[in-house]
């Protein structure tokens, strides 16, 4: 599977995750979000930014609790919880947010 955007072809896996993670940019994220029916707000971008930062260092998406805590520290304690993340990303912070952030799909019992 693949999609074209601004003259570039992006290969994805069966679930729509980018195959080549280096190809990611904000336009791609915007495109993937639209595909998911999401309207990217600043809050959405905060999550994406954190995921990418974490991935850069650890080569894996962060544990959900690490993500919620980081978001809570950034946007206020009342937003540092799973429910807030699910409100932003109804498909799940681990799977949907990772897809938009250009991270590989988490595998395993998740």
């Amino acid at each position: 599977m693949a999609f074209d955007l601004n003259g570039v072809t992006y290969e994805t896996d069966e679930d729509g995750y980018l195959v080549n993670l280096d190809q990611w940019n904000k336009d791609v994220a915007q495109y993937l979000a639209t595909q998911e029916g999401l309207d990217m707000t600043d809050a959405h971008w905060e999550v994406v930014d954190f995921l990418r930062e974490y991935y850069d260092e650890y080569k894996i998406a962060p544990m959900i609790r690490i993500l919620t805590k980081a978001i809570g520290q950034k946007l206020g304690k009342e937003k540092g919880n799973t429910k807030y993340l699910y409100d932003l990303y109804p498909g799940g912070p681990a799977k949907q947010a990772c897809k938009i952030a250009g991270l590989p799909k988490p595998t395993g019992c998740v």
Binding site: K59, I60, K69, P90, T107, G108
Partner: protein
Amino acid sequence: MAAKIETETLTGDINIPSIQPGATAHYKSNPAKEDHNKFLGFPGARVENWREAAVEHMGELLGKYKSLRVFMDICVRCGSCADKCHYYIGTRDPNNMPVARQELMRKVYRKYFTPAGKLLPDSLTGASELTEAVMTEWYSYFHQCSQCRRCSVYCPYGIDTAEVSMAAREIMDHVGIGQKYCNEILGKVLKVGNNLGIEPHALKNTLEFVEEDVKEVTGADVRYPMDEKGADVLLVAPSADFFSTPHIEGFTGYGKVFHEAGVSWTVSSYASEFANFGMFIGNYDTMKKVAQRIRDAALDLGVKRIVVGECGHAWRVGYSFWNTLIGPFDFLDPKYPAPQHICEFTLDLIRRDGLKLDKSANDEFTVTFHDSCNVARGSRMGDMPGGQFEVPREIIKAVCNKYVEMDQNTIREFTYCCGGGGGLLTDELMDLRVKGVLPRANALKEVMDRHGVNTMAMICAICKAQFTKVLPNYGIPMETVASLHQLVSNAVVLGGKIGV
């Protein structure tokens, strides 16, 4: 986003539907990629002579597995199992009746391995060649079995569809027809040490996070160590415990229990996975390789005991198979069972009055317990048959004031699978997973309505991931799902009786 999956309204009753042939024939898990298959020693893609190779391999398995040998011959199609599978109840597809699922293999068995099937017309014997269409059915329906063994409880001959679906998947892998979800994950665990692919420095970071978090909330210095040589206990948890919620809450609880027990423990970054999908694909060598990492880590770290976390199928592998696969455990302290389940560890401590517990910490919860299928029907805890039911319940009752059982026909050895086990916990099978949870969701709904249950505790990483994902489709909030050791974690008064 995929369209919302249509669900039945929960009534609190489990009804047996009439059959609807072909209802789920189109379900298909994503096929494994070439490198997934090759890494496990399977052909990268379907081999040219796949029919002959598959039949030949089936013959080999018939000679190696008494279960398969006997089960192929002795089913009388009485139908006792027919209405027992959660996938049949949820999907109505008659091929999801265990006996019909087995017949998908048995008809091929008759064709190539029985005198009648070889000599007489197929119309008389019900035999079938292994055609493309049959292979399509195999791939679809043997990936609609969660290997939960509920059918085997009700079979007059103990025929276990799990054994048949494992053999079918092994045959398919053998000819290059692999399933992505399982095979990709097996590659990760064998390369990195866990199903998620968490590398050591990331795992270390996660454990430090938990340590700081516990310190922040409780003020206590509870340690969550990694790769510490000379620790007494090697803890092997499912890697979802390092990633998901409510898994991590349970993991946090294990650490508190060890802390209070005064027992030194460690996680291994080399063997940071209890799950063993080698069982799901029915491949003995892969299952052994995954398990071997744990033996190697235990020896390397010089531990005296192996304690394992909340993971259902892995407890079956650990309890029932490890001794055969990677035993004997003569290098461990013989005073303790090898492996020991974290629930056995915790209950032992509770019984010796070694934990100070504040039950009221869980007063906002009215709790029920979901018996995970592989624990219930594939393992044991403690000394007595059925300990796998009593041990977790005794813990819950020690840490909670309000406990309620679900319907008798849906618990203990009669428990229903969560609908996501056996290598089916993958997004492309979401429809199946949502339908497969139906009987459990109804049983849960009944105690929610009648007794105000708001928490379902469990000891399986797959169950936790599956329920949090699919129960909301039925209007049951994901917060209902809890790790058993999450309740323990809530109730433990830290520093109460360390080392008693």
